[in-house]
Amino acid sequence: MAQRAVPITSRVPAIAAAGLVLLLTLGTLGAVLWRAEWQGGLSPADWAAIRFTVWQALLSAAISVVLAIPIARALARRQFRGRQFLITLLGAPFLLPVIVAVLGLLAVFGRGGILNSGLEAIGLPTVSIFGLQGVVLAHVFFNLPLAIRFILQGWLAIPSERFRLAATLNAPIGRLLEWPMLRTVVPSTFLVIFLICLTSFAVALTMGGGPRATTVELAIYQALRFDFDLGRAALLAVIQFGLCVGAALLAWRLTGENLSGAGLDRVVQRWDTPKPWIDFLWIAAAALFLLIPLAMIILRGLPGMFDMPESILAAAMRSVLVAVGSSLLCTAMAFALALKGGIAVSVVGVLPLAASGLVVGTGAFLIVFPFARPSDVALLVTMLVNATLALPFALRAIAPAIAAIQQDFGRLGTSLGMGGWSWVRLVVFPRARRPLGFAAGLAAALSMGDLGVITLFAGQSEETLPLAMYRLMGAYRMEAAASAALLLLVLSFALFWLCDKWGRSDADI
């Protein structure tokens, strides 16, 4: 029997982290299953919600992928100034708070937005963004960049020698090289986006609504918040969980995505260059689609930026506190779990992907409700849930680095007789600083922009910045909402940047 060639560290932190994750995923699921009222069965409205949830996700995924193919091809074969910037920009939606993007989209496509003003000016009827088209639009905005990155990776993975060979043979590149690549990359990309769109509560909350555009998660929120029908909320949560189980099995691929954009800076040298302007048209259209809504937030938010009501600043403060707490907890849990390693840890790390924030929130509500006023624990629960939901992403960033440290230096540490604490303090922590910073930034930004669990728990005095912003939008105070959005945007990216910077400093390893 080979002995473990790594200094032995305490297993208590890993067990505590795993316990919290299990409580928040399986524990809340248990609460939901226990309280679900089955006898009534599903009402026609419930069936409509299920149909709408699946339908909008299918549509969003299909449109994202179809649009992504020509854009990815253009990026794969054209070199131009700003290409690297554009590719970095494609990674931004992951950190972008959903509600901020929604406000930006409303400024372009909403009532009184750029599009409708233009239509009005030339005497055409205006269009409404709310409902199915709005939900799909927001989903495409978020997932088109992801689809482009996936497919671009596929393109760049084709060895350049093959393009050279095809050129010398004068063979059709499309049929010989590109079609087989797309056939493997497109289905998985479609699936990942489909599954993301099944569980994006904030989009449905802001863009959907009404009997014809209500997702299952939105129905949970309404059952809990407006009807206070705990049994029905629990039943809907069980249904949502069923929808998400598929997500758990497949969406973990997403977390392996290279968020830094490293390796995508190469251009495939091609000898067939038909009509370059078509490629540049696609690239320009994609850039405008992604940039204009963001620019509108800055444009509209800037005037009121330094004249923010006290309540918004207080909400911002709460959001930062929750984000920092959630980030510290998430990173600490990921660190403890990665240090322990093993199959059980991977399972614990993947579990939160199966959990919809709203299902976890409903379960937590059911657990807390008999003992405390939900609004009293709103921020604490939000922090715990956000930390848990970000855990798979943090673990994906940290675990490979820690495994490499153990592989490279475990025997040296052991032969020097280092104790577990010395090993962690002197070797693992300093050497894993870069992924730790990245993971902390990711968790902080995700928590900062979260508009999920908090909506179930918060009263007026516990609102976070995204929730305050949502309430401003609900009151049609769009200027104030735009300022709050800009603040939220700045805070999210600043938190990410600070953590990531901390990880990169003193990195003479």
């Binding site: 025997r411 104790g419 070797v427």
Partner: protein, 240 residues
Amino acid sequence: MLTFDRVELRQGDFRLKAHLSVAAGSLSALIGPSGSGKSTLLAAIAGFIAPAQGRILWAGKDMTGKAPGQRSVAMLFQDNNLFPHLSAAQNVGLGLRPDLKLTQDDRERVSDALGQVGLAGLENRKPSALSGGQQSRVAIARVLVSQSDIVLLDEPFAALGPALKDEMLDLVADKLSAKGRTVIMVTHDPADARRIASQTIVVSDGIVHPPVETGPLLDNPPEALAAYLGGKKDKKGPLN
């Protein structure tokens, strides 16, 4: 004396038997074909592999069940002998105190050890700011400050050029072996063995053979060793 008492090591299908003693304070070369089990034997002495059978004793005391850090053994690996994010002094200090809580006295000993290997004044350099040879010297300085009786070298100098490698071997002979440490070094090069090792342990066909005098062995190698050494068996004495 380091004693292998009917030791059998197993890794999957691989089996290695060792029944021999190595005199305290000796410097032995460990030689044998690739995959014969040289590194496995060192791993067993260091405590990374537990023997399937038998005992390993040092000075008559059984150390078979001890954890690697509890053994009086220092080991230099093929690579990753230094922590890249720690300074030379910190890397050496780990040989003294694995938690790096060094007293003033400890720090002086660290500086003294660095001076002995010719790196005086380079305490605060990180490994990336040192040459390959200097990095090896830091690792040797760490062994110097440690109290380990046994020093295992698993080809730590393999990546260095021939002249630099010879320098390191001489340093090992002067600073470690001459001070009474028991040194066992894996090598592929008979010239290394001739240079500093008075005795050689041959590992072949799943058996660790007892140490024999290096010169006569390499002058008249047994068949298995001759096949492994190939042309190199005729090379008498060091290159320079």
